[in-house]
Amino acid sequence: MNIQAQPEGLESCVVACWSCKGPASPRALFCSVCNAVQPPRAVDHFQRLGLLPGFEIDLAQLERHYFGLQRKLHPDRFAGRTGCEKLYSQQQATQLNEAYETLKDPMRRAVYLLKLAGRAADADPKGTVSDPALLMESMEAREALAEAETSAEAGAVLIRAEADIASGIADLAQAFAERRLDQAEKLVLRLKYLSRLAEEARAHKARLARSAGE
């Protein structure tokens, strides 16, 4: 498994196993002396799943690592063990799920990468958008959708939104590769609006299809 994404110094330091007090690597899931499961350490989602941090990840590798780790750490395996071991395996499994769900989805992965870079991509929920071009584009698209009277018209809005999402994700990959984080932040916001549009278009299309008895 890939462990190149180590923060400085973490590899060299050693922690005591909670059970036998023996020396354990901070990355170890199990104590090398007594084999007790260890509590989850404060590492980022990429490190937890043994991946290099970045927007473009190998999804097959993500799946492999996640399911491999989950097999070792699943609480079902610790049903007959001490309370501490049950608790730690639960905590480990929860952290693994959180890491997996975040990295699997390109949008959530992008927001998380921006957060790691010290940027508040999700920003303050009370904040408002003041990018006039984005707002104008969203308003026009939502109005076009509201005016759609057949499921085919709503479907056309959906197809356009999905194409825009696909090209937005490609642009996002490039922005991250070139480390243009301001651009990445703008793209994440635009993608949020596009996802919402696609979601509404899907619902509207289904409603129209139902009422037309299609």
Binding site: S130, P132, M139
Partner: protein, 144 residues
């Protein structure tokens, strides 16, 4: 989560839905959005030569609270001067509609929308009192 009766009323019978001609000199347009939920809100005012808001329209794509907040604001601003309209606070909106804490941002959006509409109107008329921070929001309405 249950909506208050006032929210339901504005949601089911929204006041002043529609649009005004944003190219007209007497019209100010505010366009704002909430990054967290992908909502978008447009609020427009028509101002008389005496500086009184004589009409207001809105179009909001968002949740019930966002629709109710913008509907309420269009009712409140009619008959007010620009200065009076600018004093509308999100807390007044939230209180009137009994918005729960998770929906407070909808009232913030409505407050920002009316401020942006007033700023747009002022920018069209070259009002020097316009704050630099509002210029970006104000310029949106003057684009083709």
């Amino acid at each position: 989560m249950a909506y208050s009766d006032k929210v339901v009323d504005h949601f089911e019978n929204p006041r002043n839905v529609g649009s005004l001609d944003k190219g007209e000199a007497s019209v100010g347009t505010g366009l704002v959005g909430a990054p967290a939920c992908g909502d978008v809100m447009r609020l427009q005012i028509k101002v008389s030569p005496e500086g009184i808001i004589e009409d207001a329209k809105f179009k909001t794509f968002g949740c019930g609270s966002a629709i109710a907040s913008s509907s309420l604001v269009t009712e409140w601003v009619k008959g007010k001067t620009l200065d009076q309209a600018e004093t509308i606070k999100n807390t007044d909106i939230a209180q009137h509609l009994a918005l729960p804490p998770v929906k407070i941002h909808c009232s913030v959006l409505a407050e920002d929308a009316i401020k942006a509409a007033v700023a747009d109107y002022r920018a069209k008329h070259g009002d020097p009192t316009i704050a630099p921070a509002d210029k970006a929001a104000a310029s949106q309405g003057s684009k083709p």
